[in-house]
Each structure stands twice: as structure tokens, then as C-alpha cells.
Symmetry: C2
């Protein structure tokens, strides 16, 4: 519980501007993009330096005060939404690109910097920061790393984890752990930064990072292809990997459920094909030889057509047309307006399983709610799909019932209940479909070792009972 | 201390063939390629399954018996060399590629499988396993992962860590932690496999892995170039990254100290250039369009020449000639024969620092021992160099004195004392040049949490006093 003493200490350490309470706390700090109802934090901290983050956590640790770290608040699973009684610690004042190093192709950045700012800084230096997600203008690089963000270019450049060379994080007791490595190779012991990447702010608060930049592609080709069935989509994917000479950067598939819905409900998007029974694939290739890249892409389409992997294709003739194709793929942002409340999934598999999985998930939803919408699309190159469910005419969607249908299917295929969005609080009850008891127990052991007072984002990512103590004789380890 | 009871239990669990003692233990299990004198383990365990590894560790854990895991015994820092009183646990009987999955481009393998076997299995399936190091015929995939091996293609495909999707490891108490994920995207909590990769067998014994395969390049170009100075080498590197369209896979630089020594001492290698004051760069590009790739490479060389990045270049006209170029680069295996005992380094930096670092290191050695050989070469694309030192006419090389010269220079530049070989026992005393007290303390905390009896490779990677307990008030964490 927040006491006057705690508040006084925090104000002394962070100044009046660094500690907001009551009505001074902007409403947006109450929740994230998960759609979960807001919870007003007991205080909002806005440290402006690593030292202030350290001081804040040291004080909260001493008082046993729970803390929810916050980046851009764009998460979809409630990871940055305070629990009752939490202090929110926002990194929004800890911003700025500190350095772009052309020689090592690295960029050093403070955690609260928006992703788009990082992308622009790289671009201004003639390089390329490959991470890209729809919320780029709002999300922060610290949040991207804490959640191991994925996005549109994982196929080529990997997840956020793969783009990090060095990290600075503050441990729950205020210890600053600075591993701001800029080297590609550094085998000097356990790679500690991995503890914090993708752990959703439960083990430390990321304050700075060194990220890896890539050469900036000078050519881009975007096309939408129609494939007769999922086997053809897989054939198309494998051919694209071979034939585009490493240039393939996105391979996004829209099942008919999704595509036809978009075509019918959002004609203003001017989709390239009418509704139909086929699957639709948005392919992006990026390279360094504009003429040659276009020629190679055309050749790839011809071969794909000859092999029956596609029946039709449209190559974007302009930047504008490319954006139009992507608008179809990103029509997800319009769901709320068109459908009202939705239940969405972010599930991941071996990519050869996706055809069966989509069929089974859509059928399961329809079997229970014959009028339901079950719309499937996603990053097929990465084995990751999103499924959107809406039961028309129902004001409060039966989210739990829908989840109880879909996650068992995920488990049956050995899939992941979260490809990229994380666990937060939304998926806590389903974690065991993707992680077994021993993995959960080891995560709990790490959590209570590094955060013995359980002050850092408690109740997120891991069930509280896994954190509380040994769950089995083995991982008790004495 | 190994008791009769312990031995009986191990024999019951692993059978007579699984537990060797005394003269039955092959001599090679006493040490690795570090050159450190052998220590005969008190027993050699050769489990044939994950279950037997688990049983062996459970028994050793119960008895407080220390265990050194062993792969191919090719490590260079003593990590697999038993300490006095250790049992050696060899993975040599836990071998075999279990599956190659074309659709997901993954390969599932048991830890004791030699790297070369993994490479061949991928190749037979029409794919490519990118990890490659000189000891490929002897080293094992489990050892590669436990040490996060680097090698010749890091520039393009990353370290061993970057090639792992799933891992199975046995914890010190025998718990089998199976995270045999085959998915590219799986954000369901802390990425536990990272604890074991690069931790040199101190936190768990890797038993199986799912590794990532790549498309097999269908064309390769190898060339040796001469550059007037290190600035030109960096220019050449940056140009190669841009101009080879992502095809650059190796960029290995031989300073005159190394190259001229090789030319003069090993004329049978038939090196392409005579001795001279220039730096020599071996470049490999690999792609999927043989004609186009060669054309692109020629154009790259022309541009590099025009910009003054090189003064001469020879492109290999055959596989055989490529192998001849690489033999010059790998002449390191001949050092022992030519020089006798050597002291070698594996140090890593931002790549723009390498010119100064090499100059300073070679000068420091010569200042102390004017007749010394100090030969420099390495993976300049990765910022990683190897330095070989020999003081002629001295039977017992002053290894510690040489290290005490080189590692402070490494520390001064913020470099790594180990780019790829790891810490083992050889570099324990120098760890603090690359990791600060807090990082070492957190590694110690992880070690004593996961291995509270300190039975797994004790005294490797981390100084024993860091493992023993809190070294500072902060990381005591209560």
C-alpha cells in the first residue's frame, strides 16, 4: 500500500514533475490496447534518467510497493495495465537516440523512444532499422524489447530479440545492470540481456539499448497473389524463398474468411481482387538492385503460375498502390468500427500446419455460433496467424468461451498461444497450452530469485502461484 | 568424493558400458584442445538417452558429486577439461539426427552429434546448416550450443545462438527441461533456452536441439584482396556489404604479421601473393544465381579498386583454388608444428577499432620481447580477431605475462576477452575486463539458484567466489 512516506521519498528522488497522483495522472496510463477496463495507478512515475529509474525501484523495493512498467501502452494483452494498487512507471520521459554508429551499424537509444523515431534516425544515417509494427508511432523501443515484438519483417530480419546487441536494465531492487555491448561476438558468460527481452517487464525495467542496423534496401516490390489452396500457398512461400535471392521480406496471407469480409465491408479500400474462394498473399521483396529485383520478381511470378501456386497476381506499380495493398492487410484496425467488440488471437505453429489449424478453428467457432465471424490472416512465413472472432448481435462477447475453443486446438497442434503479443494478464490462464509445468516452474524460480519481493509487474506473464514458490519437488532444487 | 555407493547407483542407472573408471577411461577425456595438462576424471559417464543423462545428474546431485559435461573436446579454454575429482559426462553416445523438416526448415538433433554430420544431413535434404568451424569433424552440436560457437559465417547467419529454435536440457538436479520449439515466433514467457546457450555447461546439460536451416546457396565466389591499410579494409567491408546484395558470407583479414609469416614458413600453401606490407582479405560471397553473382562480384572488385580499397585481387577459378585460399587463412593449425608452444587470443571489438588494437597489441608484445612473433588475423566482419604470440627459444611460454599485456588493452577499448571461444578456466582471471561486478554477480546468482550444490562444471566460466554468494549489497536482493 502506498504510504505518505513512500510518496515523499519518491518526490525527493524524482522531483514533483516526476511523481503524479490522483487527477494529475492522464487517463491513458490506466490500460493498454487490450481493451481491458482501466485501472488508475496509485501514482505515475516519470523518471528522466536511468538513475531516476534506479532510485524509484530502490524505494519501491524497500517499501514492497508493486510497479507496472509502461512504454507506449500499445500492448494487446494487458501487460502494461496496472493491477489494483500498482504504481505505474512510465518511460515516456526517458527518450532520445544517443548515437548512430555507421561503422558498427548500431544505434544506441533510450527506452522511451518511439519505434518510428528509431526508424527515422537510422534512415537519416543511410541505414535501416528492420523492426516494424503497426503501432510504430506510439509504441516505444523499450516496450518492443520487453515484449520481443515481431511484426512485418520477422521473416527476413528476425524478432526484436535478434536486433539487440546491448541492453541496460534496472533490476527490481534498483541495481543498474549495464550490458551496453556493441559487439557481434561476445562470449563472456551467460547472455544476461536475454532475461529481460520478452519477459514483459517482470524481471527488470529496460532503460537503454544498442540495436543492430541493416543496409537500407533501395528497391521494393509488393504484390498480391491469389492461390487456390493452402498447399499452393506453401509452394509459393518456398519458391519465394528460393527465387527472390534472400529478398523476401513479407509473406502475409489472408484467408477467404478475412479477405472477403474486407472486400464486402470496406470497399473504400479498393482491394485488387473481388471476393472469392482463394487465399490471398501479400508478398514484399526488398533489395539493392532495382531493375534486377523487379525482373527477378516477375520471373518468380511466372514460375509460380506455371507450377500452379497462384492463379492471379497484381504487382503494385507505385508506392501508393503498395500502401493500398498493405491497407487491405492492415484492415484489422477497422474491426472495432465494423464489427464492434472482437476476440482476437495471435497463435503460432509450424507453417505447414496453418491450413489445418485455420480450418479447424473457424469450424469450431461456427459449430458453436453459426452466425459468427471467424476471420483468419497472418504472417504465414513465420507460422503466425491472427484470428478475429465476433458473435453478431451479442453486446458482451463470450471471450472466455471463445478462448476455451481456440487454445485447446493450439495445444493439440503443439502451437504457441502467443506468437508475438505476449501473455500479459489476458492469456495467463492458457499458458500451460504452450509451456509445460517445468518450464513454468523454472520461470517462477527465476522470477522469485531476481524479484524476491515480487514488486515488478506482479501477476503478468506468469501465474502468481508459479511465482510464489516451488510447484514440484524437482525444481525446488534443495 | 566419489564413493562406492555413488558408483553403484550410476552403474544401476547407466549400465556397465555407461560408467567407465580407471584405465578404461580413454585418455582424450582428460582435457580439450586448450593445451592444458590432462586431469583423469574419477569416472566417465556415457549416457545413451536424455533419461540416462537425467538419472546420472540426479544421482550426482544427491551425492554432491561434481560433473564436467563433454562434447567433442575441441574447446580452447578448458571448459570441458575435468577439475580434480570431477566425473566426466560425455554426450558421445547420444547421437543422431532425429528429423529434418523441409516445410519448417528445421532439423532436430541429439547433442552428441558431430557438427559435420548435421551439415551433411541438411545438405542431403537440399538445405544448409550455416554454422561452420574448423573442428567440424570432431566438435558436437551440443558443445557448439553450450559455447555459442561462432566461426566462418557469423557475418551472414549469426552465432550458434541465432540458429537455435528449440532446446532440451537437463538441469543439475536431473530435471529435464524440454523446450523443443520449432516455431519462429513463440512469445510465451522468458526464453529459457538462452540460459543454456553460451553458459558452457554450468547451468544445464544440453541433450537435444531444434536448429534452423537455410536455403543452400548454389553459387560461391572466393577471392583474396590486398588492401593498403586498415582504413581501406573497412572501406572494402562496407562496400562488400552494399554491393554483394546480402551475399557476403565471410570477410577474413590477415595482417602482414600473419600473412608474411605464413608465406615464408609454409610455402607449400602456395599463397596467392608474396609477402608484403599490405593487409590481405579473404572474401566469400554465396548466392543463388551463379552467373549474376560472379558478375556482381567482378563489379564490386572494380569499384573497390577505383576507390583505393584494394591494390590487387585474385578470384578463385575452381573449388580447389578456393580451398587453397582458405588453407592460408586456416594455417593456424600449423602453428604448433612451426612455432612450438603458442599463446593465442580471441578478442572482439567494434570493427573500426581493430586497426588500432592490432597495432597496439603487436607493439606491446615486441616492446617486451623484441624477437617475439605476434601474428594477427581474424573475422574482421564480426569485429573478432585472433592473435598468436610466440617467444622464440623459450620452452615454457610466459602465458600469464603475455595475457597480462593483451587483456588490459582489450579492456581499454571496451572489447571482449572472448569473441567466440568462451571463458572456461583459461580466461577466468580476466573476466572482469569484459564484464562488470554487477554482471558477474547476477551470473553468480543465476548459477547458485539453478545449481545450488554447484555440481555442474564448477569453476568454469565464472570465478568460484562469484558463485559462492552475494558479492555486493545490491545483488543480494534481500
Amino acid at each position: 500500500m502506498m504510504t505518505d512516506a513512500l510518496l515523499r521519498e519518491l518526490r525527493t528522488a524524482l522531483g514533483e514533475q516526476g511523481v503524479l497522483t490522483g487527477n494529475d495522472i492522464p487517463a491513458r496510463h490506466g490500460t493498454d490496447w487490450s481493451g481491458l477496463p482501466p485501472v488508475v495507478p496509485v501514482a505515475l512515475l516519470r523518471p528522466t534518467s536511468t538513475e531516476e529509474v534506479s532510485a524509484a525501484l530502490r524505494i519501491c523495493h524497500a517499501h514492497g510497493q508493486s510497479v507496472t512498467p509502461q512504454g507506449g501502452l500499445t500492448g494487446l494483452v494487458g501487460g502494461a495495465r496496472p493491477s489494483d494498487g500498482d504504481i505505474a512507471l512510465s518511460l515516456e520521459k526517458l527518450t532520445g537516440v544517443e548515437a548512430v554508429d555507421l561503422q558498427t551499424s548500431t544505434l544506441t537509444v533510450r527506452a522511451g523512444t518511439p519505434l518510428e523515431t528509431v526508424q527515422k534516425a537510422a534512415e537519416e544515417a543511410g541505414l535501416f532499422f528492420a523492426l516494424d509494427i503497426g503501432s510504430r508511432g506510439s509504441c516505444t523501443i523499450g516496450g518492443n524489447l520487453a515484449t520481443n515484438a515481431g511484426g512485418n519483417r520477422v521473416l527476413r530480419y528476425g524478432m526484436a530479440r535478434d536486433l539487440v546487441l546491448g541492453l541496460e536494465a534496472v533490476l527490481p531492487d534498483g541495481t543498474v545492470l549495464s550490458s551496453m555491448n556493441r559487439m557481434v561476438k561476445n562470449n563472456t558468460g551467460t547472455d544476461l540481456k536475454q532475461l529481460f527481452i520478452g519477459s514483459e517487464g517482470t524481471l527488470g525495467v529496460i532503460t537503454r539499448a544498442v540495436v543492430r542496423l541493416h543496409p537500407r534496401p533501395t528497391s521494393g516490390v509488393n504484390a498480391i497473389c491469389r492461390s487456390p489452396d493452402f498447399a499452393a500457398v506453401l509452394g509459393l512461400l518456398n519458391l519465394a524463398r528460393e527465387a527472390l535471392g534472400g529478398g523476401l521480406s513479407s509473406f502475409e496471407t489472408m484467408w477467404p474468411s478475412f479477405y472477403n469480409f474486407v472486400v464486402e465491408r470496406l470497399p473504400e479500400l479498393r482491394p485488387p481482387f473481388p471476393a472469392g474462394p482463394e487465399l490471398n498473399v501479400l508478398i514484399e521483396a526488398a533489395g539493392f538492385e532495382p531493375d534486377r529485383d523487379h525482373e527477378r520478381f516477375e520471373q518468380f511470378l511466372v514460375t509460380a503460375f506455371e507450377r500452379g501456386f497462384l492463379t492471379d497476381a497484381v504487382v503494385a506499380k507505385s508506392e501508393q498502390e503498395s500502401r493500398r495493398f498493405w491497407a487491405v492487410r492492415h484492415a484489422g484496425s477497422e474491426y472495432q468500427r465494423v464489427l464492434g467488440s472482437i476476440t482476437s488471437f495471435d497463435i503460432s505453429f509450424s507453417n505447414d500446419q496453418l491450413g489445418d489449424v485455420v480450418e479447424e478453428c473457424e469450424a469450431a467457432v461456427k459449430a458453436n455460433w453459426p452466425t459468427a465471424y471467424a476471420l483468419s490472416y497472418g504472417h504465414v512465413g513465420d507460422g503466425n496467424i491472427h484470428l478475429i472472432v465476433n458473435i453478431p448481435g451479442v453486446e458482451v462477447q463470450p471471450r472466455n468461451e471463445i478462448a476455451d475453443l481456440i487454445y485447446p486446438i493450439t495445444g493439440k497442434y503443439g502451437g504457441s498461444i502467443s506468437g508475438e503479443h505476449g501473455i500479459g494478464t489476458r492469456k495467463l490462464n492458457y499458458l500451460s497450452y504452450s509451456r509445460d509445468d517445468r518450464e513454468i516452474a523454472l520461470m517462477g524460480l527465476l522470477k522469485r530469485t531476481i524479484d524476491p519481493r515480487n514488486i515488478l509487474n506482479p501477476g503478468k506473464m506468469l501465474p502468481l502461484d508459479a511465482v510464489a514458490g516451488p510447484t514440484g519437488e524437482k525444481l525446488a532444487l534443495d
